[in-house]
Amino acid sequence: MDDQTHAETLEAFRNSFSYGRRNDLNFKFFKTASDDEAATFLQALLHHLGDAYDTGDAGPMIEVAYEAQVNAYRPPPGVTPKFSFDDGPFAAVTTAVANARVGMLTTSGHFVVGDDPEPFGEAGLTQQDAVDRIGEFLRETPSLSEIPSDTPTGDLRVRHGGYDIRSALRDPNVTFPIDRLREARDDGRVGGLTSTFFSFTGATSHGKLREQLPGWVERIREEGADVMLLVPV
């Protein structure tokens, strides 16, 4: 083989982590980073790994990864985002949180076992299916899953092709803090919870999402929340 001819560029290497042959959603930001940023990140990561051989401390590696994410997604100067607003609605909170009924909506892609929203009308889609079909999800009409707030944590399922769900599989509360809300209610830190929480796959068509919103809002309002907690992923 002619190594010169077939040598992989750093750009191709970076891109392969974002739905490519090295797909890893924790590191898809490589595609957004520059070659220099990616190289600097990898060098720093390996340097701290060398320290961790002795210390066992992953903290510096995690900090490097965090900073790399923040840098990679920082908006470039002078670029106007597609969705930009000078003002927005503001509803006053009229009930002290300790007395308030709190609701929740997340974009984490959670649903209750047996109540799969079945994207594309297909039952049994796996996480790998969702990753492989992320382009279709981004053109799809989102479906709002209703999750009773007394759902046993073990009955939650998650599927989302836009982020690494391994942490959410270990503990749903990292993206859908249902246990934390129940503890807050039981401790009296909040007055109560709505009967139903909500989740959808946030990697979706924004145009089709906005078409759904009037119906979603009507349903959410039925829950009578004094405050809605929103958790994007």
């Binding site: 924790n26 930001f29 992953a58 903290g59 995690i62 900090e63 990864a65 965090y66 994410q69 923040v70 997604y73 920082r74 908006p75 985002p81 597609k82 969705f83 930009s84 607003f85 000078d86 003002d87 927005g88 609605p89 503001f90 509803a91 909170v93 002290a96 949180v97 308030a100 709190v102 909506l105 974009t107 981004l138 982020y163 769900i165 942490s167 959410a168 270990r170 509360n173 990292v174 993206t175 803090p177 809300l181 807050a184 946030g202 990697a203 924004h206 999402l209 919103l213 009037p214 979603w216 809002v217 959410i220 929340a225 405050v227 809605m228 907690l229 929103l230 958790v231 994007p232 992923v233």
Partner: protein, 92 residues
């Protein structure tokens, strides 16, 4: 994508007179100001872990309480507060 999606949702819910508070990871927190969300708590956490690491009950509760405190204290649209605690792996 998710942070823009939640921006549309937040504006719609708030527009129906239901107060919202949004928890955003730092990497995408610029969406809060771009989309002029009502109240946003920014966390210095890794993507995919907005509330904290798996089974880090203490941190997850702290994030929740900070978000709810912000809901109560914010008086104007576009309020953004950053929680200073850096991400930490699950305490052993």
């Amino acid at each position: 994508m998710c942070h823009v999606s939640v921006g549309h949702v937040a504006r719609a819910i708030e527009g129906s007179d239901v107060p919202t508070v949004t928890i955003m990871t730092k990497a995408f927190s610029h969406r809060a100001t771009e989309m002029m969300l009502p109240r946003t708590l920014v966390v210095r956490h890794l993507l995919g872990r907005p509330m904290g690491a798996a089974h880090d009950v203490e941190r997850q509760a702290r994030v929740l309480d900070a978000a709810l405190a912000l809901a109560e204290s914010a008086t104007t649209v576009g309020t953004v507060v950053e929680l200073p605690d850096p991400y930490r792996p699950t305490p052993r």
